[in-house]
Subunit: 258 residues, 2 copies
């Protein structure tokens, strides 16, 4: 299975510490070597890096690890191919535009017998179940609303569509429009909210510790969401199967359990 990493903050923050451990799962400490990707929102804009090489030895991954891009919303993905060949068009995260916003989506799981009809607004470019599911959600939202509804209404509709897709199989995902970040747990997803007083955190995948108190201000709040906890000295919250959370400004704002 693939691995997901997300970050949602109330102030632009770099993800270097979390990515340091996470990227090693792509071919070094774990077996997810079929490509990877990471998207950083900066205001309404987004930087999307994707690569069909394993993240542990990707030049693009080396860039991301050395380049402290500050962002309020980040989604990263390391791929273990289940459906769709290994090529660039099948690398997550996927990007589309809706209502003049970029949306970013990454999926961990496997949807069986899911065959979306050709969309009027959105169609998959690659051959993954994941991009097809993303396009299905975007298509349904766009068909329902010409302009964006309020966040609670939107969240409820995404929850309804998610439950439908969840019926086809494993559907852990992350979705962001640069303002909020939504996570859905099907089998495995954990999160932590870091805020003052900030802890010193130690990575599971590598012997690296960072004292967040030295790199943050007292008002900073950062939510990190990952398939498997990235640190071994902090308390991560395990999401429940069927649980969906909308994070904004570094904290859970809306929750849905199906």
């Amino acid at each position: 299975m693939c691995q997901l990493l997300g970050m949602n903050c109330n102030t632009p923050t770099d993800i270097l510490f979390s990515f340091e451990g996470f990227h090693r799962r792509g071919g070094l400490t774990d077996h997810h070597a079929d490509g990877w990707g990471i998207a950083f929102f900066e205001g309404k804009g987004v930087r999307l890096f994707i690569d069909d090489k394993p993240s542990a030895d990707s030049p693009v991954s080396a860039l991301v690890r050395q380049y402290p891009i500050k962002s309020q919303n980040v989604i990263a993905h390391i791929r273990k191919a289940t459906q769709g060949v290994i090529n660039l068009a099948n690398c997550h995260p996927f990007q589309r535009e809706i209502w003049g916003q970029y949306w970013i989506f990454a999926h961990n799981g496997d949807l069986k017998d899911f065959h979306a009809r050709p969309g009027c607004y959105y169609n998959a470019v690659g051959s993954t179940d994941s991009e097809a599911a993303f396009c299905y959600i975007m298509e349904a939202l766009r068909a329902k609303w010409c302009t964006p509804p309020d966040t609670a209404t939107l969240f409820a509709e995404i929850a309804r569509l998610t439950a439908e897709l969840h019926g086809h199989g494993v559907f852990n995902f992350m979705l962001s429009n640069g303002d909020w970040l939504i996570t859905h747990c099907s089998t495995k997803l954990h999160y932590i909210v870091r805020q003052a007083p900030f802890p010193a955190a130690h990575l599971v995948d590598e012997d690296v510790t960072v004292d967040f108190a030295t790199v943050t201000t007292p008002n900073d709040r950062v939510a990190v969401i990952a398939t498997v906890p990235l640190t071994d000295n902090e308390q991560w919250t395990a999401m429940q199967a069927g649980e969906m959370i909308l994070f904004r400004d570094g904290a859970p704002l809306l929750q849905h359990q199906s």
Copy 2:
């Protein structure tokens, strides 16, 4: 004004030589320091690197110069802001999906009094006239066809839309779907087709020479298109104002003069 660089080939080729001279125009040898971007198609997938820092000292540009990504279609852009502030959402190239294909667009120029109505399918995220023009073209094509027409019909319709937009001001652009690359000249655009026997070429912007005969096979054919010729010992063809060309497999295939 901005600078454009495009490459269309009959076999995946790296753009390192051309990019070596081109990237220096972003803040070193010329004054286009308001961001830059480059898109590489790989099959149906696309790598899009954008940065709101000058290309001459951008870490992302350093990566691109060291990482020989091979592609049949590349579009690069160095920005000198005319409309829209300097931020990531306003960096070219822009990307959208249509008919299950990614399309990439970059513009050099300035469109006056161009105010597109809100699109049903496509809307700009940033505040440039360029992205608005791209969305206008995409919107019109998608409204006309639910599935892609043949290339000649598509080219003729893009030429019609281009003439309309050209009425608003300077509109040099490059557009690619990964199969073909279309260039339109409003004020300044040059191209060259390189094929066997391959020449040794010398960069204008830097004292670098490459002997293409040593890095190609006899069947390779590469079209390079740039605002200003990149080499000083080859014969570049100047496009005419109102001329639009569709390149495929490294050579002009369709031409339109308005």
